[in-house]
Symmetry: C2
Subunit: 396 residues, 2 copies
Amino acid sequence: MISKKMVGYVNSSSVIRAMFEEGKRLASIYGPENVFDFSLGNPNVPAPDEVNEAFATVIAEEKSTYLHGYMSNSGYEEVREAIANSINSKFGTNFGVKNIVMTVGAAGGLNVILKTLIDPEDEVIAIAPFFGEYRSYVSNYDGKLVVVSPDTSSFQPNLKELEEKITPKTKAVIVNTPNNPTGVIYSEETIIKLAEILNKKQAEFGTDIYLISDEPYRELVYDGFEVPYITKYYANTVVGYSYSKSLSLPGERIGYLVIPSEVADFEDVIAAASVATRILGFVNAPSILQKVVAKCLDAEVNVAAYDKNRKALYNGLKELGFECILPQGAFYLFVKSPIEDEKEFCNIAKKHNILMVPGSTFACPGYVRIAYCVAYETIINSMPKFKELAKEIGLQ
Amino acid sequence: MISKKMVGYVNSSSVIRAMFEEGKRLASIYGPENVFDFSLGNPNVPAPDEVNEAFATVIAEEKSTYLHGYMSNSGYEEVREAIANSINSKFGTNFGVKNIVMTVGAAGGLNVILKTLIDPEDEVIAIAPFFGEYRSYVSNYDGKLVVVSPDTSSFQPNLKELEEKITPKTKAVIVNTPNNPTGVIYSEETIIKLAEILNKKQAEFGTDIYLISDEPYRELVYDGFEVPYITKYYANTVVGYSYSKSLSLPGERIGYLVIPSEVADFEDVIAAASVATRILGFVNAPSILQKVVAKCLDAEVNVAAYDKNRKALYNGLKELGFECILPQGAFYLFVKSPIEDEKEFCNIAKKHNILMVPGSTFACPGYVRIAYCVAYETIINSMPKFKELAKEIGLQ
């Protein structure tokens, strides 16, 4: 018998991952060119050339036992220093080696910081719509996820409700900007107000409330939008970063946490994050990947390709009568379901070989997420199918 | 404030890792050539040439978005198939794709299977001496670690005590052979008796008892010793494997679980292991590493180098009057402390710039572990220091 908790996890298992597996099944039946799988955030844009060059360079430069060996659980010092310097030069911060913990992607980083901070029954606030995996990550440590309901007018966070939901048991608030699934960037005004609320509530309750900023989409922005660096607005911020999207390396599991010296109980938090990395079984972020990303700190994926997809998909769907807002970042379009039950809408779409993820996965029913990190042709070729879908649903 | 559980973890943090950091500190003061750091199992033998060649090959052969992209949480099907076939040809088993879950090393694999199986208060039995991290891994899921005391005459498991300690709450037994820290290989006779006991107790209590075989040292054996493949002796066996030692890739975090179709509730266990891989934040084992190890299934590190170290260290220490048994596998020598308090012995050794790990870390006080996966020169050059130590302690 598997554990009782796992029975629940398996039964309510990731809709996104189930769609991904379903996409592979459909592709084997109809051919991959006839299946329009918008389910998973798996980049179609290749890693920049610097990445594969960096593999060759570090293999040539480094001794095998060093390159493939154990290092401190927090990562190679020289890699953490290079990353700290890169953040400092981009955002005017002042981080050093001691503020960086290399992680197994952002998912690994979030688990490390939640393991570090959360006691059973501690509350962690997430602002809908949010990446549904936060539920599992918080539950792993017996924390309680408190959901702030979505503001579907702008998809900026509902700060009034956030303030009301902070209690003396609130240990952390998770934000994700540019946002998965909406593509919205939380504005500087939003961040300033959020910081004010958190500072006020910390003073009121005499507690520390950590703001965990999950930032895998930081570099994927359009139209010159800027993503505020949140540590500059609120002292108790921990940043979780990943190279999955910015360097198109999602399978490689490489990212980092920034734990600024200004966070409450810094020395304890940084020591515990290193121990958590070890005992959760990560041990350390994959060693050659650490070395590779340190050589690619200024490399960029082809964001213009995502931008082209974004416009084609947004314009195409608007023309067909679908309602959605233009994403400012990331590579997702969050579309209002033309029928109330968006799961039913996804099922109908599947009959047309279109795979999308229901908004309820992101605590925002009535919407669907379309991941446009696919080939441009996929978007163009999907349009006749979306037209069929629009007709069936009564939009056309 | 960090979580209460983490306070305990940080305070009792890994002695091995603390020694590793201490070794780096001493090396910076006295020079690395004057510090004899036998603390960590960090291989000094380089990865076989096939590994770095495989990096180049897979980068040349595979599309970037496939090589560095997401795949099923359990890993690439073709990698899992290649590994299953390799195990089958070596051990006469009959595994397929569905029996293999790629993991972030053995530490990741153990966390995945424990998350899969353990409910709070479930008991997991470990046989002393054992790798101390098992304590944290079991505690991560609120399981209770039950320790079988060491049989210091042979360091084979004390099966009588094991039998007595199995209760209706026993969910799993962890074995590790070749053993860290003793280098002992559990004999076929031991495995057969162990299987008998587990089958008897399963029948008696009407429970399923999973045998988790932690096998990172499987390929590191000397003098032609054989390591029985435990799935052939006991149906409810799950194997945790790692390439950390067999290919000298400990920093890369790559390994796998074997979950045979014969284990109780196989379909649930395999589904839950995939979900656990995702929600613990591993998501999947690093993608390029999966591809690389699949190209190196017959590659071998230079075991003869470890064997040379083994003999030099064993003979050198015996000559100085230390008591120890000759390891049959792995790369550790487990030495009886000449004074009762082996922690004190380690502290005295540290004054001579010799770093070893106290046996209490492995639930076997009165002994120390010496990791001989170091340069041969380190062993030779440490001998005068060991002689000083033997004199100070009164052995000479």
